[in-house]
């Protein structure tokens, strides 16, 4: 798994960020036991180096255990036994990003049908790793409708990433961002028919299109730098978690597309981790005892840091 190891190498960073991700639960009645499974630690890989990271929890956890999941993401299990009506989980990270591929190389990738054939025949470690992301998963199904939508871009012998880029652009053009239209349980068919949704929906949609064609695709979880209107200061906590898609191609490895922003991922996306879909990398998954009704507030701030002269230790 070449991409999951921290081989940041000595590439010069193109950006550095500090990310603060706060999750704030308010419960109606006291919670006596809270068990949480977190995917809030940015992983290091060839385009990203996590320089520092910590998770602060209030009330303080009784136990916390760090781990690595099946996809190589960093996880943390937390148990809170102090009765509480308010829970605050604050993840602070500093990451350095290194430049990715330029657009020119994308045009020259292999025809997509060739990759599809490799996926069914080739048994190399890299292809087998990609097979993890080839099939339907809890939030992403494969269907003839998705395939039809994909085929408009995936024309005969078109280079794999060239087609992926057009698919990414089409999703951006055909679909409207609307945070009221869907929630995490909305089926893909509904998103496809309604043409509205949020970043998760667009990511799942693009993944579903690719897998319906027999091509692997990863769900990427993380953050994106937002740009305040000209002349205004950056608002603290105004950002949110973000999701995008990673597409496989034997020539270049995994290449990320962001259908929500119509962009090839370069130096403004901070990666937490990846999986088959949202369910593998939900930042915070938990079960509480007690609590009653609950209110949730999430605040994310991504702030650029100066690019330092030396590669961090």
């Amino acid at each position: 798994m070449s991409d999951s190891s921290a081989s940041a190498g000595h590439a010069w960073p193109c950006a550095r960020y500090r990310v603060v991700h706060e999750t704030h639960y308010t419960y109606q009645s006291p919670v006596s036991l809270s068990q949480q499974y977190l995917h809030m630690t940015p992983r290091s890989f060839n385009y990203q180096q996590t320089e520092s990271h910590r998770i602060l929890i209030d009330p303080a956890e009784e136990e916390g255990r760090d781990g690595t999941d099946y996809f190589g993401n960093r996880t943390r299990h937390v148990t809170i036994t102090v009765p509480h009506k308010v829970l605050l989980v604050r993840a602070e990270s500093t990451v350095a990003l290194t430049p990715r591929h330029d657009l020119e190389r994308i045009r020259a990738t292999l025809p997509w049908e060739q990759l599809r054939a490799m996926m069914t025949r080739d048994r190399s470690a890299e292809i087998l790793e990609a097979c993890r992301y080839l099939y339907a998963s809890p939030h992403v199904n494969c269907s003839p409708a998705l395939e039809r939508y994909a085929r408009i871009s995936y024309t005969l012998s078109r280079p794999q990433l060239d087609a992926a880029q057009e698919l990414c652009h089409r999703i951006h053009e055909d679909f409207e961002f609307d945070d009221k239209a869907t929630d995490i349980s909305t089926p893909l068919e509904e998103v496809l028919a309604g043409r509205r949704g949020v970043c998760q929906d667009f990511a799942h949609l693009m993944i579903g299109c690719l897998r319906s064609l027999g091509l692997p695709a990863r769900y990427m979880s993380g953050y994106i730098l937002t740009h305040p209107p000209a002349g205004q200061p950056r608002m603290i906590g105004a950002d949110a978690s973000h999701a995008w898609v990673s597409v496989y191609c034997p020539d270049l490895g995994w290449v990320d597309f962001d259908p929500t922003n119509r962009s090839l991922v370069q130096c403004e996306h901070v990666t937490l981790g990846w999986g088959r879909d949202y369910s593998d990398v939900a930042p915070m998954r938990g079960i509480v005892l007690g609590g009653g009704e609950q209110e949730l507030e999430v605040r994310v701030t991504v702030s650029p840091l100066p690019i330092t002269g030396s590669t961090p230790a």
């Binding site: 068990q35 099939y135 998954r285 938990g286 079960i287």
Partner: protein, 856 residues
């Protein structure tokens, strides 16, 4: 005689017959059985069948069928004739099952580990990465001795040439072994001599081996886990059986196995994960659990990392297993191997992993994900059964020959669109075996059968149960056998050759320091269920007695005349909602309204007929408050006790439930009286079990406390009412209701009078129905419970007890004594309050159920 027996029995030419050989002669293993039947008295078989059926009924052996109109209860269908297999044939099956279990375990280890079989091209990635049962969070887990598959079973069928084939594998939480054990215990009563003569191998050793192996690994879990604290020699590892609960189709079997193996039967909410370890919530605090034998499906086991909408699992269980702090049998994610799509790849995997060919073939199976297979399957669709490759597709099997016209074309199109979702299997011609059918000439007829066999892992390899669960189809040509669709079952006899004894693996056995004298593992939920079981048993008894007294009084007097005591009895019946003027008018209304109209009855006293009808309804109808409803409630509470009640206790309970609830029409007055008498007798029997058959552990204390509190509440209520009755009222009913009439008559040999009656029912400390007796018992019981679990507020009963003991026969025991009535009222209220306090202190509450907060 033999000819007559076989007169109607046909050995089918195109399938194997278990009893007759190709020439129509009985096979050697069947000769003794056929001779016995031929020499039998005419109704001997009838009697055997009756015995089997009454055993099934009395033991309450049930199988929950989701579609059954009779709700969750359906009696187990056990045929009297076994499947008999000679030793040499069995040896072949045994070796093949051991090989297959070993292979399955290695595949499981590879899939959840290095996945070399994928890299070597022996397993298509789609079958793993495309399978929802491949639990990603379980990848990389380590298992003691490399065993991830602790318990394995497979379904076998025999083809026409006598060769056994494997139809499917059960690798997640194989069911049915408990039914096999139950079948054996029933059938061995019918044919004890025959079983000895045929040297039928016992199957109990298999369960002992399984338990010892799990204990052995549990011991290592305690020591090897991330926070290892090795068990002392005197400590036994705690093994629990995790059940999805009483609504699961095989709950009866789970409770039976738990009882037989001596394991606490727990639900997910009984367990909690702290510090990466699993704990059982007991009354005395959290107890470390080392082994979980599970009957909960893979993805339902942990809402934190697996299916987040599961209410059956334990939060954090996956992490505890990953840390090696608990052994889960079978390991999480093992259900993956149940996919029929794997079957075609097993021969190559067997050669690669074990270096030998498969000893028993699987039924011919093609995974349509391979292009060549798809064309072949479509070409011979008529001979094949098409099944889904993955459980998440939620599709049923389809028989190719059933598909015609457009449906067939549609189906083929679907297969071509998503070939990897389909598996095709050859239809197997099942072998047939005789069943005894009462009424048919000769008695014997043929049924298609399948055999489910079981293996368990030990640190030294797999061991196979010498026997299994034979399932019979409803007809001779059935294509599928499932208990869910109403097949029958048979005991399975494996003969042993003289020189071969039963294998006993060398494992740690119980030593004197392992002895346990208390139920330290009593879960809070179980304590609560026992407490309510006690209360409901007593409540049934009270209501049965009250109904009997009321019906007696109603019929012993002259028509149209009721004794002065009647209004008091009527008031008690109304108190317990047995007589509700409104409800009763409605119940009777339909009939009467037609004749004379309802209006005439309004505002008047109830007629004898109206009262009788209401009381009879209260005996048998669960639709109204009364005995039937109470018995049903008792049964529901008991169904959560599962393994805590003895088989005999269950038998008494089942008999009572059937007596009251299986009535098809309104009983006559005399039938109702018989039912009430029988119910009282059954309840006495159950009280006897509680007194004499249960160990005095903490569970028993809660049961006993429930009974006593209920009785104290009832007796204090009855006495309050009785003391207010008119002066000329007869007191016989009060003694009868309090089950004290015999004592009274022996002592006084005269008409009951207030002073001796009150002495007997309030102050006599030797009468188990007296207030003093119950109060004393409750205080002692609560004292014992407080010693173990801390104060529970029983002090609040002490002043009442003092007042009670200060009563003097000479000055206080008289009719309409307001002070005495007041004391009884306060005792009644205090006992209800005590019950609530116990609930608050010891039992968990529903508003504490965990719920999901993610995903965000």
């Amino acid at each position: 005689m033999l000819e007559q027996l076989l007169a109607q029995y046909r050995a089918a030419p195109d399938s194997f017959d278990e009893m007759l050989d190709a020439s129509g002669q009985p096979r050697p293993q069947w000769r003794a059985m056929l001779e016995l039947m031929a020499a039998d008295a005419p109704d001997a078989m009838r009697q055997r069948i009756d015995t089997v059926q009454s055993q099934v009924r009395e033991n309450g052996v049930t199988y929950n069928v989701y579609s059954d109109a009779r709700g969750i209860q359906r009696p187990w269908d056990l045929n009297v004739l076994p499947l008999i297999l000679p030793q040499d044939e069995w040896s072949g099956i045994e070796a093949a099952v051991i090989q297959r279990a070993t292979l399955m375990n290695l595949i499981l280890g590879d899939v959840y580990g290095e996945q070399k079989m994928l890299a070597e091209g022996l397993l298509p990635p789609a079958l793993i990465h495309g399978h929802a049962g491949f639990l990603r969070p379980c990848h990389g887990m380590k298992h003691s001795d490399g065993v991830a598959l602790h318990f394995y079973s497979c379904d076998l069928a025999r083809a026409a040439d006598g060769q056994w084939w494997v139809l499917s594998d059960r690798t997640q939480a194989p069911s049915g072994a408990g039914y096999a054990l139950e079948n054996r215990s029933i059938i061995s009563r019918i044919f004890p001599d025959m079983m000895r003569d045929l040297k039928v191998q016992p199957i109990t050793g298999f369960f002992r081996t399984m338990r010892l192996s799990l204990a052995d690994w549990g011991r290592r879990c305690a020591a090897n886990g991330s926070s290892g604290t090795p068990l002392r020699d005197s400590e036994a590892p705690l093994i629990v059986l995790l059940t999805p609960g009483p609504y699961n189709e095989t709950y009866y079997e789970q409770a039976f196995l738990a009882r037989y193996l001596g394991l606490p039967l727990v639900e997910g909410s009984d367990l909690t994960v702290r510090g990466g370890m699993v704990w059982l919530k007991t009354l005395s605090g959290l107890q470390r659990v080392h082994v979980i034998m599970r009957r909960v499906d893979d993805d339902f086991c942990d809402p934190l990392e697996l299916r987040s909408d599961s209410a059956l699992g334990v939060v954090g269980l996956t992490e505890a297993a990953r840390l090696g702090n608990v052994l889960i049998a079978n390991s999480l994610g093992s259900g993956l191997l149940e996919s029929g799509a794997l079957l075609g790849f097993l021969p190559a995997l067997c050669r690669r992993l074990l270096g030998e060919p498969m000893k028993m073939p699987s039924v011919a199976t093609w995974w349509c994900g391979e292009a060549a297979a798809l064309d072949q399957v479509i070409g011979q669709l008529d001979q094949l059964v098409i099944k889904p490759s993955f459980p998440q597709l939620r599709q049923l099997s389809v028989f190719g020959q059933d598909l015609e016209g457009i449906a067939r074309a549609d189906f083929i199109e679907q297969m071509r669109a998503n070939p990897s979702n389909y598996v095709a299997q050859e239809q197997v011609r099942l072998s047939q075996s005789p069943v005894w059918q009462p009424g048919s000439p000769g008695g014997l007829s043929a049924r298609a059968i399948g055999l489910r066999v079981y293996a368990c892992a030990t640190p030294y390899g797999y061991v196979v149960m010498p026997g299994g669960l034979t399932r019979a189809a409803t007809g001779r040509d059935a294509r599928v056998i499932t208990m869910q669709q109403g097949g029958g079952s048979k005991d399975t006899w494996v003969q042993s050759s003289a020189e071969r004894g039963l294998q006993r693996p060398l494992l740690r056995s119980t030593r004197s320091q392992d002895l346990i004298r208390d139920d330290t593992h009593l879960s809070s939920r179980m304590a609560e269920n026992l407490f309510w079981f006690g209360r409901h048993t007593e409540r049934c008894d009270n209501i049965a007695r009250l109904l009997r007294v009321a019906l007696n009084v109603l019929f012993e007097v002259r028509p149209g005349y009721r004794g002065a005591e009647w209004p008091t009895i009527e008031a008690l019946c109304t108190w317990f909602s047995l007589l509700d003027p409104k409800a009763k008018k409605q119940a009777q209304g339909q009939a009467q309204a037609q004749i004379q109209g309802l209006a005439a009855n309004l505002g008047k006293d109830l007629s004898d007929e109206e009262i009788e009808s209401a009381l009879l309804l209260a005996v048998v109808s669960p639709e109204v408050p009364g005995l039937a409803r109470q018995v049903r409630q008792l049964f529901r509470t008991a169904s959560h006790l599962g393994e805590r009640l003895s088989v005999d206790n269950w038998r008494a309970l089942n008999w009572m439930v059937q007596r009251v609830l299986d009535l098809e029409q309104q009983p006559s007055q005399s039938e109702a009286m018989t039912i009430l008498d029988d119910t009282t007798t059954s309840l006495m029997t159950m009280a006897g079990f509680a007194m004499d058959g249960m160990t005095r552990d903490m569970g028993w204390r809660f049961l006993s406390l429930g009974r006593r509190l209920e009785r104290l509440q009832f007796q204090s209520l009855v006495l309050q009412h009785a003391l207010g009755m008119p002066a000329n009222g007869n007191l016989d009913w009060l003694l009868e209701l309090s089950d004290s009439i015999i004592t009274y008559r022996t002592r006084y040999r005269a008409q009951p009078e207030w002073l001796p009656v009150l002495d007997l029912l309030v102050l006599d400390e030797s009468n188990p129905r007296s207030i003093v007796f119950q109060m004393d018992g409750i205080l002692k019981g609560l004292g014992k419970i407080s010693l173990s679990y801390g104060p529970c507020g029983f002090e609040q009963l002490l002043p009442l007890n003092d007042e009670l003991l200060a009563l003097a026969a000479a000055t206080d025991l008289y009719w309409r004594n307001a002070r005495l009535i007041d004391l009884l009222v306060r005792i009644n209220v205090a006992s209800a309050a005590m019950s609530e306090r116990i609930g608050l202190k010891f039992f968990t509450y529903t508003d504490n159920l965990p719920h999901r907060t993610g995903n965000v």
